[in-house]
Amino acid sequence: MADLFTYQNSYLVVVIFLALGILLPIVALSLGRLLRPNKPTEQKRTTYESGIDPFQDARVQFNARYYIFALMFVIFDVETIFLYPWAVAYEELGVFALIEMLIFVVMLLIGLIYAWKKKVLRWI
């Protein structure tokens, strides 16, 4: 019973954070609008691009292969993240975890073979 109230009350923190997150930009921007002087010139109105004059359209097309590469990278990145804690705690976890990890690595290996044969790794 008491647990349930604690459980429900802990959402109060979430609500406070939500309210803060919404209010902060509104307050900051509207206060800033009241306080700052407003004297626009042609130069000031141009887009700020780290000091240099803006050129080209901001919407550039990327090669779709970047995304597939990025996906592949993320998958194997996550694999290493999972391998680290297992390697550190290897002594306690024992043989069962070793087998589990082998299954995990073999599954990802099949994924790598799939990507290789589907010519994901080749850059044209």
Partner: protein, 501 residues
């Protein structure tokens, strides 16, 4: 966990799943390395053999004591066994149809079709025999993600791409609903294991947990309604069924739907009968039945009436499958002792008659490169036997005596009337909408028998799809004339009380 506990598990319990897993892995690797010239239809026969082996393992498990392995996440009981038989037979027939599917050369990666089907089947089987919310959800997603890709396997067809896109977006939304509901259940009980949840949930006092539990129930049910394509998540069905290749359409309307009912029964029945309901001495499941019965009623009415206006045969059958999902919710609402029996029997009958009807549709639409209802014109004068089989399937779908569909509907009807309290309004809706459904089923029959046929080109009947068709026709008639054989086997072999912990 150490080596001794690992070896002490009875791994043979998972033999059917392992078979399917190995077949799917081997097929995907062979597809990558095998020469392009090798006919990928061989994969279909290989997969069918694999499902045959899995079925053999499954039948040898009948009568096994209910048991759990892998830290109580995998459960073998009468419930999982009986429904896995349906899933495997359904997938086997879909594979046979897939082997004969040509699709005007639009199926560019035929190998993918077979192993994605196997992985989807594996997901469905995990949904049937898991006793933990996490593995249930992983099974659900394995089935869903494989079916999203399957719906888009006709790569050059814009309709197929549209279907896959709609399916993945709607499916994502509904999965989010389900997961949100499950997270409430976890938050209230502190466990993901169904056995633990069913113990813990009765301790929650109504004044605290009732609102949250009701929200959990509604969210979980609404999310899972997507898989069985009932209101409120039914609108994807016509578009996806129309765009997807016919074998995939069958898979979605039979195997995926059966898996959806399995997970609904498993989750809702392990959790909510033990929670206290809105009134004293009732369970939350009983309090929520009015909600499901309204949804079931709307589903039956919407499915059957909208089907009346369809000219495209795949869309017509999509609405018909929505209506059948509505019929299948009736025994769940009635909640009599016959619930499992009548749901299992109706799912078995629906599997046979729907796969059979789609097998005929596949042959006819491949022959005339169209999906309009007029492709059936004069079929009786060109291929009398095929027309007779289609008639059997349509009569069974409509629920005419002598067919499996009639016995299934009768069971549901009796269950709804003799339950306590009697669900006579729902039974009346079911009766009325069944009569409406006669119009569109008999419309197809009128095409076959009363319209002249346009062309005299002989209709080609490939081996795989013919086997599926004949098997389904024989099954529909057998279940219709001698339902006792199956029902007796069912009652003696499967004890559904095992499902509860």
């Amino acid at each position: 966990m150490d080596m001794e506990t690992l070896l002490s598990y009875e791994w043979s319990m998972m033999a059917p799943e392992f078979t399917i897993l190995i077949i799917a892995t081997v097929l995907s690797l062979v597809d990558l390395f095998a020469d392009k010239k090798i006919d990928r239809k061989l994969f279909g026969w290989f997969g069918a053999a694999g499902i045959g082996i899995a079925l053999f393992f499954l039948f040898s498990q009948i009568g096994h004591e209910p048991a759990m392995i892998l830290a109580n996440t995998y459960r073998l009981d009468a419930f999982s066994l009986s429904f896995k038989i349906l899933l495997l037979i359904g997938a086997l027939l879909v594979l046979l149809m897939g082997v004969s599917y040509e699709a005007k050369g639009e199926l560019l990666y035929r190998g993918e079709f077979y192993y994605l089907l196997m992985s989807a089947l594996l997901g469905a089987m995990m949904m049937a025999s898991s006793a933990d919310l996490i593995t249930l959800f992983v099974g659900l997603e394995l089935l869903s993600i494989s079916s999203y890709i399957l719906a888009g396997t006709r790569k050059k067809s814009t309709q197929s791409n549209e279907a896959a896109m709609k399916y993945v977006i709607n499916g994502g939304i509904s999965s989010a609903f389900t997961l949100f509901g499950l997270s409430y259940i976890y938050g209230l009980t502190g466990s993901t294991n169904l056995a633990d949840i069913s113990r813990e949930i009765s301790n929650i006092a109504p004044e605290n947990g009732l609102v949250l539990l009701s929200v959990a129930f509604i969210l979980t049910f609404v999310g899972l309604a997507f898989k069985i394509s009932t209101v409120p998540f039914q609108m994807w069905a016509p578009d996806v069924y129309q765009g997807a290749p016919i074998p995939v359409t069958v898979f979605l309307s039979v195997v995926s739907k059966t898996a959806g009912f399995v997970i609904i029964l498993r989750v809702l029945l392990s959790v909510f009968p033990f929670a206290q309901g809105l009134e004293a001495n009732t369970s939350l499941l009983q309090s929520m039945m009015i909600f499901i019965s309204v949804l079931a009623g709307i589903t039956m009415i919407a499915g059957n009436t909208v089907a009346l206006k369809q000219r495209n045969i795949k869309r017509l059958f999509a609405y018909s499958s929505i209506a059948h999902a509505g019929y299948l919710l009736v025994p769940f609402v009635a909640f009599s002792e016959m619930m499992f029996e009548s749901m299992w029997f109706y799912l078995a009958a629906y599997l046979l008659m729907n796969i059979g009807a789609f097998a005929v549709i596949q042959v006819m639409s491949e022959h005339s490169h169209s999906e309009d209802i007029s492709i059936f014109a004069g079929l009786f004068y060109r291929r009398p036997w095929m027309a007779v089989m289609m008639t059997i399937f349509l009569l069974s779908l409509a629920g005419i005596p002598g067919t499996a569909g009639f016995i299934g509907k009768l069971n549901i009807f009796i269950g709804a009337l003799f339950s306590d309290p009697s669900r006579y309004i729902l039974a009346a809706v079911m009766m009325g909408t069944t009569v409406i459904s006669y119009f569109y089923y008999f419309g197809v029959m009128a095409q076959m028998f009363m319209r002249p046929s346009g062309s005299a080109v002989p209709i080609r009947m490939p081996v795989g799809v013919t086997i599926a068709m004949v098997f389904c026709a024989a099954g529909t008639i057998t279940l219709g004339l001698f339902p006792g054989v199956v029902l007796d086997f069912f009652q003696t072999q499967f004890n559904f009380a095992e499902m509860f912990y």
